[in-house]
């Protein structure tokens, strides 16, 4: 039987050193809540694990106008962070609905992103917050917007020698937001659909909006056309209906164990409508 190699990196330099040496062969693992499920069910059989859970990538900090989260930051540390609570309550809401306490104690934000599940529950919130990821390799560093990061189910723009080091999220304390996840039960459940909406309001006018959805396309998506419809508009119920219809055109849901494409289409419209109404409250005519 082939031996498995377990590499434990002590810092980022060592991670990228090992990644440049082993490339695709080294399966990056932090909390293991996604990786080990796939390994244990033989969906994946990597020869080598590169453990980055104790390599100094567990941090949440404020830098200029951004919040920066280390890739190996545990999901429960994000919920507990006063900094995130203050500046990114949408992310707290999204992460709180993920899995269970035990899984959130192990699972990391970088892992949730890099696993690249269409139903990754941190991602719609991060898309709506206009987050980016910092990608590093031995020879380079680049910043990629979250909306450019995914290329398909389980697929990302990461090269074999690269890892996600941190996530950068711009602070905008005036941003209005709303979030909804539908699962098949209240905990330990993958999304049937999840939607995050953010809006920048000035008086009655929506200056900017982002509508992001999970589990309704091959990757989590920003509904760009629908979002654009809201820009520089006074939002009324007619416009909201238009936006919801546009969202339905931008998604490409499938039937799976958690729900049908029919249900997802229908929910995408209803949830988007409800979330926009929730944000505008009495401000909407």
């Amino acid at each position: 039987m082939a031996e498995k190699v377990f590499l434990k990196a002590k810092d980022v330099n060592e991670i990228i050193e090992l990644k440049s040496k082993y490339g695709q062969k080294a399966k990056v693992i932090a909390g293991g809540t996604d990786v080990m499920v796939r390994v244990n069910t033989l969906v994946e059989t990597p020869d080598c694990f590169l453990y980055i859970g104790e390599a100094g990538l567990n941090y949440i900090k404020e830098e200029n106008d951004n919040i920066i989260i280390g890739a190996a930051t545990k999901l429960n540390d994000i919920i507990a962070s006063p900094l995130i609570k203050k500046h990114l309550p949408l992310l707290v809401e999204a992460v709180s609905g993920m899995a269970s306490v035990a899984v959130r104690n192990m699972g990391t934000i970088g892992g949730n992103i890099c696993n690249a599940s269409p139903a990754a529950d941190t991602v719609p919130a991060l898309l709506a917050l206009e987050a980016s990821v910092i990608i590093v390799s031995k020879d380079s560093q680049r910043t990629v917007a979250m909306k450019e990061f995914f290329t398909g189910p389980g697929k990302t723009v990461l090269n074999p020698d690269e890892i996600v080091k941190e996530i950068i999220i711009p602070k905008n304390d005036n941003l209005k937001w709303a979030y909804k996840k539908i699962g098949r039960r209240k905990a330990d459940t993958l999304s049937v659909i999840s939607v995050a909406v953010t809006m920048n309001l000035k008086d009655d006018v929506c200056k900017d909006a982002k509508i992001a959805l999970g589990a309704v396309a091959p990757t989590p998506i920003l509904a760009l056309n629908a979002s654009a419809l809201l820009c520089d508009k006074k939002v009324d119920s007619l416009l909201v209906d238009k936006v919801a219809n546009e969202v339905e055109k931008e998604i490409a849901p499938i039937d799976d164990q958690r729900g049908s494409a029919w249900y997802r289409r229908r929910m995408s419209k209803i949830i988007v409508k409800n979330l926009i109404e929730q944000i505008l409250g009495k401000g909407m005519k």
Partner: protein, 333 residues
């Protein structure tokens, strides 16, 4: 829009095999130190038969619970039990243990009578002692007589007992009656739900349950049985899929992770009450409540959904899609 409704379900449920013919056997050995070995083949599946059987033996023999060793790991060296099914184990095993205990007690009394110079019929059990009627000072502890039986008299006390329901498939020619069941237990659940008419999601707000144990042998276990059974009912009503699968047949669950059952987060506030309407032949009047507790949630929730939105969903699990499609056909009608 969110709409609320209430629904009730009533149930009566037989204990043991319909038609009878099933048996459960037990035997008990009195040890020289006054403790007892209980040999019982009934399978523990979390319902608590190990605890309940030892409780009954302790009560019947005046032997402290912690001096009873239960042998329950192999059908080769225990009594036959037809099985843990049909809500039958507390009823059947309880009766078998009681009968085995009565046999062992009678033997204890016979040996104690010799020691005390009285007849066995003058003896009774009080505070873990064998005492002589009308002569309260004349007594022996179980340990004293058990030691003598084993070491001085050179005897063995082995009590045996069983409970068997005679097959009842013969119809009385005179009146057409048939005695097929051992006993009936009764129960009810009141469900309060909220249905989201846009998403089709059903939220169970509260469940109130009443179940008839006949006689509760262990209140904590009985309450746990009710809570657990009702939560299983929530699962089968709202989540669990057997063929046809949700949303389509080719997407059936492949692992237990795919097979959705309720988590603790899905359990609504529940209030459960126990009613004791004793059975004629159960141990102390006890009945079985194992299975029926899992059966009331579905009709109660389905009734509550009807009360909330005015459409019947007649097949479980009640998925959000079924709710939405039922509402659609109602609107078209």
């Amino acid at each position: 829009m969110k709409k609320r409704g209430k629904g009730v379900a009533l149930i009566y449920y037989p204990t043991g095999m319909a038609g009878g013919g099933d048996t459960t056997q037990a035997f008990v050995k009195i040890k020289p130190d006054g403790g007892a070995d209980l040999f019982l083949g009934s399978c523990e599946i979390g319902q608590g038969i190990k605890t309940v059987a030892c409780q009954i033996l302790s009560d019947e023999l005046g032997i402290p619970y912690d001096q009873i060793v239960l042998h329950n790991s192999s059908t080769d060296d225990t009594g036959i039990c037809t099985g843990t099914f049909a809500s039958r184990v507390t009823y059947f095993a309880g009766n078998a243990v009681r009968a085995a205990a009565a046999d062992a007690r009678q033997q204890l009394f016979e040996y104690a009578a010799l020691e005390l110079g009285v007849t066995p019929s003058e003896l009774s059990l009080q505070d873990n002692k064998i005492v002589v009627a009308n002569e309260p000072n004349k007594s022996m502890t179980i340990a004293e007589i058990a030691g003598k039986v084993n070491w001085t008299m050179g005897k063995l006390i082995l009590g045996k007992g069983n409970f068997w329901k005679e097959p009842g498939r013969i119809i009385d020619a005179e009146n057409g009656q048939i005695d097929v069941i051992t006993t009936l237990a009764y129960g009810a659940t009141l469900a309060e739900v909220e249905v989201d008419t846009e998403t089709g999601q059903v939220e169970v707000l509260k469940l109130t349950n009443v179940f008839d144990t006949g006689k509760t042998i262990n209140p904590l276990l009985a309450e746990g049985q009710i809570d657990g059974g009702v939560v299983m009912g929530i699962g089968s009503t709202l989540m669990e899929n057997a063929n046809p699968y949700y949303p389509t047949d080719n997407l059936k669950p492949k692992t237990l992770g795919d097979y959705i059952i309720p988590t603790t987060m899905d359990v609504p506030p529940m209030q459960s009450f126990i009613v004791e309407y004793p059975s004629a032949n159960g141990p102390y009047g006890a009945k079985g409540i194992g299975e029926m507790t899992a059966n009331t949630a579905s009709p109660a929730i389905a009734n509550a959904i009807y009360d909330a939105i005015g459409v019947w969903i007649n097949d479980i699990p009640v998925t959000p899609e079924k709710i939405l499609k039922a509402l659609e056909s109602q609107n078209m009608a």
